[in-house]
Structure formats: structure tokens, C-alpha cells
């Protein structure tokens, strides 16, 4: 069914496409779940809709309230689209080093933007949003602690993969809020406990990690580490190389975190003889064009990417 009553009904049911040129050996097939095909171009449309509708159902979000959310960008853009459709105001707290495309999209969807210190990354946005949320005029979905986030990935992302590829052996996704890994992990493990759920985490530049004390680290409350079987750190240059390969070898224009996921999938694929490895490509490449991630000079691109927020 490709006809929908409105844009919100077009969220999810994203294509799963083979990556024949990037699969390293005959017995191992790589597959890409194209989350960039969601209405605003990222997987976050799923959780934005799920969190808003859960809050409406619980009576926590009423028409007088303004939605408030800390985000590195994608969740904010998705919430802005959902808020427009449903008639809510939205305020997002965003690190001040987010890409120009993210700012532009948030503004065109009518979101108010509050900037947090870019050196503190998303952790800094969370601090600022928590302080603002004390005002009862706001409703904060808080993607890092909202069970509707992993639930959207369990009932959507994960079950879609099971339906499209019952023989799935591995699932690789980025570690942002942990919602995708936790939720899709639940659906995949319920289908077949032997499925390996693998996390890809970015190695950020020193500037992004900043000088914060180790006690200020943040583990999203919704992340269930028992759904994850392995976790890998991916350097910016490896993520960038794989992002570019997706375009040059497979004709897929994806964001930089997708490259990190592909890098980990290729590493896993090299360890096994047989398997079907699903790679979650969280967004398209559009929002990164201004970051020089596709600059001709790879060194310039690497430096730019390692010092900006692409997660």
C-alpha cells in the first residue's frame, strides 16, 4: 500500500536493498535499510511520531503545550514535521556546531531553536533542555528516556526486517540514543535469539568530547545493553571512506553515520563464512553537503567530520 491519508502515515516501511558490490564474499550478503526514505529523511520520523502520539494518549501533551527536545538535529527535524501536521509549537535545543542544513530545515518547519555549547555535544543540549523543562508550559518527549522510542523500532524497524529478511543473521546500527539497537534488537531476538546485534559508535574528535569530567558522561536510560552483542568504535576516516563507497559502488547517498555502520558490517562480514547482515542507514547525505564530507581532498573532509557533530 503506497497511498496514505497524510504524511505521518507514510513513516516507516522503508526499503531493504541489497549491497552486491560491497558484500565481501559470496556467502555473506549485506543489506541496507534505507531510513533516509522516511518523510524528513531520517529514521527519527518513527520515534517522533511514536513519542508524540504516546504523550497525546497519556494526556501529557495537550494543545496548549510547546514540545521541547534536546537533539543533534534529526530528531528535532522529525518532531518539527510532526508538530506542524498536528498543530503544536516546538522548541529544540541544538549544539551550536550543528550543520547549516539542520538549522535551515528546523527553521522552515517553524521550530524555535535554543543553542547549547557545541563543545559539550548532545550532552550539553540535554543539560540545557532539562533546565528549561521545569517550566510546565513545555512537554519534553526526551528521546533518551522515552520508552516509545525503542517501541517504535521494535514494532516498526525490527519487525519490518524480520518480515523482509527472515534469514537475517546480523543487525548493525549506530549508537545514538540506543533506541534503534534496543528496540530492533528485541524484535530480532524474539524472532531468532541467535541474531547478532552490533553497535557502531563514532570516535569523535577531541573538540567534541570536550573537557567535561568523566562523571558527566551520559548513558541513555532507554538503552538496554543486554540486546547488544558487540560494539565497535569507528574512526571518522573509516566512516567517511565507507560513506563515499556507498555512493560510488552502490549508488546510495547516505549520511556519515551510515558509513560507520557499513564499516562495522564489513568487519563482521570478514569474520563469518555465511550470513545476511542488515545495515541500518539512519539518514540520507543531504544534511551533510555543507560539511565538506564530500570534499575532493579527503584530509580536509576527515578533519571537518571529526570535529563536527554527525551523530
Amino acid at each position: 500500500m503506497t497511498r496514505h491519508d497524510d504524511i505521518l502515515a507514510a513513516i516507516g516501511n522503508t526499503p531493504l536493498v541489497g549491497l552486491p558490490s560491497m558484500s565481501p564474499k559470496a556467502g555473506v550478503r549485506l543489506w541496507a535499510k534505507l531510513e533516509g526514505n522516511n518523510p524528513t529523511g531520517s529514521t527519527k520520523d518513527r520515534i517522533a511520531l511514536a513519542m508524540v502520539e504516546a504523550a497525546e494518549a497519556a494526556g501529557a501533551l495537550t494543545p496548549q503545550k510547546t514540545i521541547l527536545e534536546p537533539t543533534s538535529g534529526n530528531t528535532g527535524i522529525s518532531l518539527a514535521m510532526v508538530a506542524r501536521r498536528k498543530g503544536y509549537h516546538l522548541t529544540v535545543v541544538l549544539p551550536d556546531n550543528a550543520s547549516q542544513e539542520r538549522l535551515g530545515l528546523l527553521r522552515l518547519f517553524g521550530a524555535e531553536i535554543v543553542f547549547s555549547d557545541g563543545d559539550k555535544g548532545t550532552n550539553g543540549s540535554i543539560e540545557v533542555a532539562r533546565a528549561l523543562a521545569e517550566d510546565p508550559a513545555y512537554y519534553m518527549p526526551f528521546q533518551y528516556g522515552n520508552p516509545a522510542n525503542p517501541k517504535a523500532h521494535e514494532e516498526g524497524t525490527g519487525r519490518e526486517i524480520v518480515a523482509d529478511l527472515p534469514e537475517v543473521t546480523h543487525f548493525v546500527a549506530g549508537m545514538g540514543t540506543g533506541g534503534t539497537l534496543t528496540g530492533a534488537g528485541r524484535a530480532l531476538h524474539a524472532h531468532d535469539p541467535s541474531v547478532r546485534v552490533v553497535a557502531a559508535e563514532p570516535e569523535l574528535g577531541d573538540l567534541v568530547y570536550g573537557l567535561r569530567s568523566l562523571d558527566e558522561g551520559f548513558i541513555p536510560p532507554i538503552f538496554d545493553p543486554s540486546e547488544v552483542n558487540r560494539k565497535f568504535l569507528v574512526r571518522s576516516d573509516d566512516a567517511l571512506r565507507a560513506t563515499r563507497e556507498l555512493t560510488s559502488k552502490e549508488g546510495i547517498f547516505a549520511g556519515i553515520s551510515s558509513g560507520a555502520v557499513i564499516h562495522v558490517a564489513q568487519r563482521i562480514a570478514a569474520e563469518v563464512e555465511e550470513g545476511d547482515v542488515v545495515c541500518l542507514l539512519a539518514d540520507g547525505g543531504w544534511k551533510y553537503l555543507s560539511t565538506e564530507a564530500w570534499a575532493e581532498d579527503l584530509a580536509t573532509a576527515e578533519k571537518q567530520v571529526s570535529e563536527s557533530l554527525w551523530w
Partner: protein, 91 residues
């Protein structure tokens, strides 16, 4: 075994500002013990009071998170790299 340990910015002050230092050991636990001997105080916020890894710290052996290997008992090899990083969120 001699390994390289990559330090987060916040811990470099214990090691004269160096971003990467050498340490010896056959398990991650040994490596952290050796690091503490060489640079007193450096692992205070890496290990928790119960002797495990601090929950806001991620430690990687080469590129893999040690929590999904053997945690502090993870065996290290000659020339491996241990990276200590603060946990950060995305989204």
C-alpha cells in the same frame, strides 16, 4: 605485553599532557594497574568503587568495546591499543 593507551583530554593532565602513553600487562586489569603505578590518580575515575569499569566510561581494545569482550579480564596482545573515552549520546 606492551600496549598503547589513548587518553581522553580530561585524563591527560595526569600524564604530562600526553594523548597516548605506553603500559604493560596481559589483561586490561593489569594495564590499568600499571597505568596507575606510572601516573598516580589517572584511573581513579575510570574504575568504579566496586572494582569494575565506571559506567560513564567506554574502554575499547583496538576498536571493540571491552564490555562485550571480557571487561577488565579481557586479554591484551603486544602492540594493541586501549582507548578510554567518555560515554556520549547522539540523536
Amino acid at each position: 605485553m606492551s600496549v598503547q593507551v589513548k587518553l581522553p583530554t580530561i585524563l591527560r593532565k595526569h600524564a604530562g599532557g600526553e594523548p597516548k602513553v605506553s603500559a604493560e600487562g596481559s589483561t586490561l586489569r593489569d594495564v590499568l594497574d600499571d597505568l596507575e603505578t606510572r601516573y598516580p590518580g589517572i584511573t581513579k575515575n575510570v574504575r568504579s568503587d566496586d572494582g569494575g569499569l565506571h559506567r560513564f566510561i567506554n574502554v575499547y581494545l583496538n576498536d571493540e568495546d571491552v564490555r562485550y569482550l571480557g571487561s577488565l579480564e579481557t586479554e591484551v596482545g603486544e602492540g594493541d591499543t586501549v582507548s578510554i573515552l567518555p560515554a556520549v549520546a547522539g540523536g
